[in-house]
């Protein structure tokens, strides 16, 4: 057997700046096996939830994820409303969907930016994050918070989107659409991005089905699953939109799906705003007296895929059992398929392609030789491997022109 080198990415991801640990076992430049350690962020939320009232759980689950802080309350609300058999008002449905889609736009833009950064395209990174900023401003205008909006409760939403705010939202949506055109053009037409992402980190349809992967990761491999369409909730059955899919299953397909989904989200929000105008202002929530005994399976389509909440109630004011499954839980496991056989420089973008969500802290990554225990490279040198590959590609493509 030839000499194997162990390259750990983590305990804190050097680029995504979140705690996890992947051990890449490499022969030369090729990744031969991958092992992972998760749980650095385990906060015992399922156990904590059993000690909170239904109203308090919303604030707890909102803090599971900082980027898609709305998707967990969304799924939890669906689960609890299923137990209590509540049909919320149309205005609340529209508001829920608007918040959900605004979140999808900012989350996808964030990913495009990070992916650009991974590949050494810092211009894409800065553009995407700049264009994401107005969406956060919108959230601040609607809810008072740029993140963790505290908008949801059992039976509706906490705050209204007044009719006077609709023109401003429409104007900002117009701007975002123009900027997304620019960004999509830049990403889709760039020969270097094609060279770095096409055919890299491929997940086949069978891999997706086997690992139960969801969201853009599944849709980029031709598996057209989307909770918004399959098991409609909130205002999604009231508006027209389509599920974006791609067949290739590589990193490029995942980027394509995410970019095109931004357009769908903009269209959904526009239709919801039109719907909002027809409903009475202030009619946003129902009074819910008690949650009866029962079981609720709530799900919502987060930017990264299906969020699933299982709630069991015994008729008291807090859940007896609350199971939470975030989309990254099933998506991260697909690394075993997407990374093995890739070079180290491509492994980082393959790992990033499912948009994994761990949490936010930072430390360092160092590569050791397995036999001698000698230090080989640190985090910056690892990132430089990826950047170097892009620079080389740029040079060769330029020389061919």
């Amino acid at each position: 057997m030839s000499k194997q080198t162990l390259i750990p990415i983590g305990p804190y991801h050097p680029l995504q700046e979140e705690p996890e640990l992947f051990r890449l076992y490499c022969e030369g430049e090729i990744v031969k096996d991958i092992k992972w350690e998760t749980g650095y962020n385990h906060r015992g939320i399922e156990k904590l939830s059993e000690s909170k009232t239904y109203e308090q759980v919303f604030f707890l689950v909102e803090r599971i994820c900082g980027i898609c802080s709305n998707s967990h309350p969304f799924a939890f609300a669906n689960a609890v409303e299923e137990i209590a058999d509540i049909e919320i008002t149309n205005r609340a449905k529209y508001i829920r969907s608007i918040i959900g889609e605004l979140e999808r736009i900012h989350s996808h833009l964030l990913w495009v930016g990070l992916a650009g950064h991974f590949l050494g395209y810092n211009t894409v990174f800065m553009w995407a994050w700049k264009y994401r900023e107005p969406v956060l401003d919108l959230f601040e205008m609607i809810s008072g918070n740029r993140n963790s909006y505290a908008m949801f409760k059992v039976g509706g939403v906490r705050r209204d989107i007044e009719d006077s705010k609709i023109p401003i939202i429409q104007k900002i949506l117009d701007d975002i659409k123009k900027k997304t055109d620019l960004l999509t053009g830049a990403v889709m037409d760039d020969p270097v991005i094609h060279a770095r992402t096409k055919g890299v980190g491929i997940l086949t349809k069978q891999d997706i089905i086997d690992y139960g992967a969801v969201g853009p990761t599944a849709r980029a491999s031709g598996v057209a699953i989307d909770v918004r369409k399959d098991d409609p909730y909130a205002a999604y059955p009231l508006v027209n939109w389509k599920v974006i899919t791609s067949e290739a299953g590589d990193v490029f397909a995942k980027a394509e799906v995410r970019l095109l989904e931004i357009y769908e989200s903009i269209s959904i929000i526009r239709q919801c705003l039109d719907g909002l105008k027809k409903e009475k202002e202030g009619d946003i929530s129902l009074k819910v007296k008690e949650i009866p005994e029962g079981i609720g399976n709530g799900r919502a389509e987060a930017p990264r895929g299906e969020v699933f909440h299982f709630v069991q109630s015994d008729g008291s004011n807090s859940p007896v059992r609350h199971k939470i499954r975030a989309p990254s839980y099933v998506n991260i496991a697909t690394f075993k398929k997407s990374c093995i056989g890739q070079t180290i420089a491509d492994a980082t973008i393959s790992l990033a392609a499912v948009d994994p969500c761990y949490c936010c802290t930072e430390r360092m990554a160092v590569a050791y030789d397995l036999t001698s225990g000698e230090k080989i490279m640190n985090a910056f040198e690892l990132i430089n491997e990826s950047l170097k590959k892009t620079i080389e590609l740029k040079r060769t493509i330029k020389s061919q022109l």
């Binding site: 749980g39 690992y211 139960g212 399959d230 098991d231 399976n297 299982f310 099933v330």
Partner: protein, 145 residues
Amino acid sequence: MNTGLIIENFMEQFKSDILEVSVKNQKRIIITIMPDAIINVADFLYRKEEFRFIIATALHTKKGFEIHYHFSKDIIGLILNIHVILDKDNPQIESLSNIFNASNWIEREMHELLGINFLNHPNQEKLISEGNWAEGVYPLRKEFK
């Protein structure tokens, strides 16, 4: 393909293993089965009926240990919960990870947090608290404070 037909097929196939069927509506069904039948049921749902395994939830209740296996038929938006009740003192059940990889992590997690043993699991190591948690202490059991 509709919910009624799927349930009819299921009942016919596993007549002797079903303990209880509870239909909340066309999209939410809970079927309680004998724990011994789980491998055949999961194989039937995944391979024949093309269900997707979402996740499993384990509970510690007065009855003992319970697991809800959540399966989704995306094309009709159906969530089918396969419910099993395990022994109080020696909770164990066959692992589904040899049928689909999607259950690999959650079975490790249930083993770690509730102490349920999954037979024939390819790698039943700890998932969350590797090396940092006392042996035999299970935080999601009711007696844990």
